[in-house]
């Protein structure tokens, strides 16, 4: 492969550049931390003691220890004493947690909230002096964040609406026993589901009904959904079925499983159309990583579509879904960490190009069992190359 050395060289170049950048502002001794920026907070029953009331601008790290007896919270507030710059919630008694923020020069307040109610205690002025550190823009991106959520919810609704319609077409073929037609529709119909899989998984009991593999099912519980139908469309030989001869579903059983999948898909559609349904920005960003984790743990191993071997269709759909989620928050992240965004952009393109060598949703892909170990490994490497920087996106967005 010609591609790999290029990527390694790039990665090295990036690290070298990062090291150079760091060496300009970090003490040479790697064991000593920059004390002026490492702050401690003692959140007790009656006070909120910060180790210092001034710090130089840049990355500040507050280590908050809850020495009280109630669940506590810590806030860094803007000069109006209201707007939240950074917060840590759910600190159990005795527990320590860190808050890492990019602080610009200015006036702030620190405050703790033991018991999680009221205005908090120990509200104290906190000053950030100008250290000359070039800070990434933060700005107020409330509008952009709200827009990202609205757009992503619209995308989810659109995908699920499409899924409802295409699933009906697929199930009609399956019910009527038109095996060839059902097989030809199977993988492309599932794509809409795979694009928004983490959303479906967030609705507790729906994903198990719709998308469980046979091995996921507890003894005594009925196995339903896409993969139940998959097995009937691509019936396994006895050797691949625990030594047992596979018995095809009867007409009545086909109708039953088709009806169940229709119902469960309709429930999913209702859930995403609920008036109070929304997503947070970190859920969108984590959803992108989650989709690639799905690829890494199920598709790249051929376990998701064990009978149809249409794993690359799912891979493509997961990747498309991850791309949409990423694009929705990309512009919010870019001013904060342009290098990371650039890296993610590049890796998305690389992986999309690599996967396109094996087909497309329109024309079909190579089946998983036709891929060589080398081909699978190069796809897996591509997933890792994208997932690693992508996993850093959420912290940038909410930081």
């Amino acid at each position: 492969m010609i591609k790999r050395p290029t990527r390694v060289a790039l990665a090295l170049a990036t690290s070298a550049a990062a090291l150079l950048a760091l060496s300009a502002c970090v003490p040479n001794n790697p064991t000593s931390s920059d004390d002026s920026k490492a702050l401690t907070v003692d959140s007790s029953k009656t006070a909120c003691d910060v180790s210092t009331s001034t710090a130089p601008s840049g990355t500040l790290s507050f280590s908050i220890k809850n020495t009280g007896d109630q669940v506590s919270e810590f806030y860094l507030l803007a000069d109006d004493g209201l707007r939240i710059i950074g917060e840590v919630e759910n600190i159990g008694p005795g527990i320590s947690r860190e808050l890492v923020v990019q602080a610009k020069p200015g006036d702030y307040f620190t405050v703790c909230k033991p018991g999680m109610i009221g205005a908090g205690i120990g509200k104290t002025a906190f000053t950030v002096t100008d250290s000359g550190t070039d800070l990434a823009a933060t700005g107020d991106d409330a509008t952009a964040v709200a827009a990202a959520a609205t757009n992503y919810v619209a995308y989810v609704k659109d995908q699920v609406e499409g899924l409802v319609t295409s699933t009906d077409t697929f199930l009609d073929a399956f019910r009527s026993g038109d095996v060839e037609k059902a097989k030809s529709l199977y993988a492309t119909t599932r794509a809409a589901y795979e694009r928004i899989e983490p959303v479906a998984e967030s609705f507790g009991d729906l994903d198990p009904k719709i998308d469980f593999r046979e091995a996921d099912v507890e003894a005594g519980t009925e196995w339903t959904g896409w993969h139940r139908i998959e097995k009937d469309l691509w019936p396994p030989a006895a050797a691949d079925n625990g030594g047992k001869t596979y018995v095809a579903l009867t007409d009545a059983e086909r109708t039953k499983y088709a009806d169940l999948l229709k119902t469960d898909t309709a429930s999913l559609n209702e859930a995403v159309h609920a008036s109070d349904y929304t997503v947070s920005i970190d859920a969108i960003s984590n959803g992108a990583t989650g989709l690639l984790d799905e690829v890494a743990s199920g598709k790249i191993t051929g376990e998701e579509e064990i009978w149809s071997h249409t794993d690359l269709w799912d891979f493509q759909a997961n990747l498309e879904g991850a791309r949409v989620a990423y694009e929705g928050v990309r512009d919010i992240a870019e001013p904060k960490d342009a290098a990371l965004v650039k890296q993610i952009d590049g890796e998305f393109t690389s992986l999309e190009t690599l996967l396109a060598q094996y087909g497309s949703l329109d024309k079909g892909f190579k089946y998983y069992n036709e891929l060589s170990t080398t081909e699978i490994k190069s796809l897996s490497d591509g997933v890792n190359a994208l997932s690693e920087p992508l996993s850093k996106l959420t912290a940038v967005l909410v930081g």
């Binding site: 759910n90 003894a219 984790d293 890494a296 743990s297 170990t373 490994k377």
Partner: protein, 421 residues
């Protein structure tokens, strides 16, 4: 300092000796007593010179302070007779008694004996101290089929494990007629034990699967610090400890009247080879990691507050009245209060078996637990975890075994003698 009981005078069977040293030496050197003085330790740190006596009411390697290294092996018994099976167990007892005392597997040792015969010990443990070696034997369900007339001896508690949701078991890593758990602070000592015991078994039993482990993932005594698993979290904070005698008697040892009489004083071992998808795990936020486990990554304190050994409070609520310890957190689901009081003694090890075809480390936890009855302990616990545990996203069970671990041996009563009474 105590002197271990001398091994019984019968020594190795002709067949066992044949395996070790060839036929030429039969009759020579049988019954050489163990003369080396050894110490038995229950201290927190096992010293290299420490050894644990093989004979006893219970087998060693269960409540013994967990050593740092493991070599676990499962065997298929060959087409042999009932008497030959008994003889194998007798030979294994003989060799295990010697090796745990720091001696060679056979009477001559690695550098003595007839010059034209292969040595009766393989030699890699030469010059090394016993390093806390324990050797623990167990019997799988398949040993009780029709081959050896043992069907009526099968304890009810030695069930065939059910399918757990998400199981991805590989047949080559499952089951076995017999098992041997060898633990030591020196990996070479543990490997030496399995190597010599499998050599003794050639022709009578052969390796089905085996597993090396490092970095014990549980403490079994109060004085041991809690180690970490490959997720980077402390593992086994709430494990049962040898000092909790009443609990150990109630939850670990088979009591008289529990079922099969020959198992009284024994225990049941369940092993699970759990692959961890560490590449995916390493990409999750610290927040998510702590939420999945239910404890802090640093100290290991429950998220409800306190320090490592503070009892978790599952009712403590945080923002939006959500519990600080998530409903799907591992610590909640594995806790006795979520499992009708059932506990197990965990004695697992980390493993890294190189890497897979995709360039990912083939890494995880080789889980071992002991209990009085798997039907009310491991099985309901694992069902609960397999269905609900948030950690399942990062784990995959690929190997599995269940074994009846008989009580300890004594002079003239080899391991498993009760099977043949």
């Amino acid at each position: 300092m105590t002197t271990p009981p001398a091994p019984d005078g019968r020594g190795l069977s002709r067949r066992g000796l044949f395996s070790l040293a060839g036929a030429g030496v039969v009759g020579a050197g049988l019954g050489v007593g163990i003369t080396a003085a050894v110490t038995q330790s229950t201290a927190s740190t096992i010293r290299a010179t420490d050894s644990f006596t093989f004979y006893g009411k219970h087998q060693a390697g269960i409540v013994t302070p967990a050593q740092d290294r493991l070599h676990f092996a499962a065997f298929d018994v060959s087409d042999i007779t009932r008497a030959e099976l008994a003889e194998l167990l007798s030979d294994w007892t003989y060799a295990a008694n010697r090796m745990t005392a720091g001696l060679g597997a056979g009477p001559y040792g690695p550098t003595s004996g007839p010059y034209e015969a292969p040595p009766d010990d393989t030699g890699e443990a030469l010059d090394l101290p016993p390093s806390g070696l324990t050797i623990t034997f167990g019997f799988g369900p398949t040993l009780f089929d029709s081959r050896f007339g043992l069907a009526s001896k099968r304890p009810d508690a030695l069930i065939d494990l059910p399918h757990f949701p998400g199981d991805a078991l590989q047949p080559a890593l499952v089951g076995g007629d017999l098992c041997i758990q060898a633990c030591s602070d020196d990996p070479q000592i543990a490997v030496h034990a399995i190597r010599n015991l499998s050599r003794i078994a050639f022709g009578r039993a052969s390796l089905r699967w085996s597993q090396l482990g490092f970095g014990r993932t549980s403490s079994t005594t109060r004085a041991q610090a809690t180690p970490r698993n490959l997720f980077g979290f402390k593992d086994g904070t709430a494990n049962m400890r040898a000092e909790d005698t009443a609990e150990v008697n109630k939850q670990i040892w088979v009591n008289a009247g529990d079922g099969a009489d020959w198992m009284t004083g024994g225990s049941y071992l369940v092993s699970r080879k759990i692959r961890m998808t560490i590449e995916t795990w390493d990409r999750t936020s610290l927040h998510e990691q702590e939420t999945v486990i239910g404890r802090t990554k640093g100290e290991g304190a429950p998220l409800s507050g306190g320090s490592e050994f503070t009892e978790p409070d599952f009712s403590t609520l945080g923002r939006e009245d959500k519990p600080l310890i998530d409903e799907k957190a591992h610590v909640r689901l594995a806790h006795p209060t979520s499992n009708k009081g059932a506990e197990i003694l965990r004695r697992g090890y980390n493993f890294v078996d190189g890497n897979d075809d995709l360039g990912r480390l083939n890494a995880g936890l080789f889980f071992i637990c002991f209990q009085r009855d798997p039907r009310t302990q491991f099985v309901p616990l694992q069902l609960n975890l397999a269905k609900n545990d948030a950690m399942n996203e990062y784990t995959r069970h690929v190997g599995s075994g269940i074994f009846a671990v008989p009580p300890g041996a004594s002079s003239g009563r080899p391991i498993g003698a009760g099977l043949f009474d």
